[in-house]
């Protein structure tokens, strides 16, 4: 998972990041609430870990803006030293999904994050075999079948396909896609990413005439949409490329 941490204590940030990285997640740390909010306007995350007391905007203020202004349903876990009942209630009522009081334990934190991730997904997030419409993806053998026929994909195209099929309907930022498919330290140009996206769009038939749309969102990233029959027809008629 790609996880944003809002925390102003450097020791705590280092520890949480270390735990998350050991568990195979990518952690992005923010010391100030305003910086996290700015990042959320151009980047997607699978979960947010919010401390309450940070400089400028408090964690709960960040949470309010995430839910109300950004209309984001990203899972939010509060990790804070504030242990009063009314603090817990306030955070949960403002839209937090879970609340942990510091000091937190590693395995419990990871388990709670996984639980949030499971609850937040309506799609086949962790499944080894994804069956969706005409697609059957086997993550162990790394094969994709479309209408029972195997689609020839490179390793990166396979990873990209899995990422989109596990996140149908969700807007994924370019940074999120790059990090998940190529790894946190890889340098990948926008053009390379666009080329891979275009390739899987063609190979998997992720176009309106087949009931799918892999849409680019300007200056942000991509979203894979599964269109119902009516929308698919509308999209075909409004998209000259799709109709061609």
């Amino acid at each position: 998972m790609r996880i944003a941490i809002l925390e102003d204590d450097i020791s705590q940030t280092e520890l949480l990041s270390h735990w998350l990285q050991l568990a195979g997640h990518n952690a992005h740390a923010f010391e100030q609430g305003a910086n996290l909010l700015r990042a959320l306007e151009r980047e997607s995350f699978d979960a947010l870990l919010l401390d309450w007391n940070v400089p400028d905007l408090s964690g709960v203020e960040v949470l309010k803006r995430v839910r109300q202004r950004l209309h984001s349903s990203v899972p939010v876990l509060f990790v804070t030293g504030r242990n009063r009942e009314d603090d817990v209630v306030t955070a949960l009522r403002e839209g937090a999904d879970d609340y942990m009081i510091k000091p937190v334990r590693r395995l419990e934190l990871l388990a709670r994050l996984e639980a949030l991730s499971r609850r937040g997904r309506h799609g086949p997030e962790q499944a080894e075999v994804i069956e969706l419409d005409v697609f059957k993806v086997d993550c162990q053998t790394r094969t994709v079948l479309r209408n029972s026929k195997q689609v020839d994909l490179t390793a990166k195209d396979f990873d990209l396909s899995v990422l989109f099929l596990r996140n149908v309907g969700r807007l994924l930022s370019r940074g999120h896609i790059r990090e998940t498919v190529w790894g946190p330290n890889a340098v990948v140009t926008s053009r390379t990413l666009d080329t891979h996206v275009s390739r899987i769009r063609n190979k998997l038939g992720l176009t309106p005439e087949f009931g799918w749309r892999l849409a680019a969102v300007y200056r942000y990233g991509y979203r894979l949409e599964h269109l119902d029959a009516v929308n698919a027809q509308r999209a075909v008629h409004s998209d000259p490329k799709a109709a061609a």
């Binding site: 204590d9 020791s11 705590q12 280092e14 520890l15 050991l22 510091k102 000091p103 937190v104 334990r105």
Partner: protein
């Protein structure tokens, strides 16, 4: 006679001279070393804050210590952090001085080993 018994910070007991050995996972070595170095630096900040009656700084340092100590493998530091936080809220300079001495002794006695 008050109900609260306070530790005498100058008291040297047999236990306070014993090393406190903590074993931690090897992959934590760099993180823990940096953490403990920061806590040494924070002792100086705590003393300075106390001399200026800056209880808010003491509260914040205590709050952070409470949050991080146990995660790094030092539950005693989390407990001490909570005590700093409480004493700072009560603006109890005498008690804060006791806690600073306790923290200093704890860090001196601490021997961390990694495997």
């Amino acid at each position: 006679m008050t109900g609260t018994r306070r530790t005498n910070p100058t008291e040297i007991t047999r236990d306070s001279l014993q090393p406190r050995v903590v074993w931690l996972e090897k992959d934590l070595e760099q993180l823990v070393t940096r953490f403990l170095r920061r806590k040494e630096d924070e002792l100086a900040r705590l003393r300075q804050a106390l001399s200026g009656a800056d209880f808010e700084t003491i509260r914040k340092l205590g709050h952070d210590l409470k949050g991080a100590g146990e995660g790094f493998g030092f539950p005693e530091l989390s407990i001490l952090g909570a005590k700093f936080e409480l004493a700072a809220r009560a603006a109890d300079a005498e008690l804060i001085a006791v806690h600073i001495t306790t923290m200093e002794r704890y860090l001196k006695r601490l021997q961390v080993r990694f495997d």
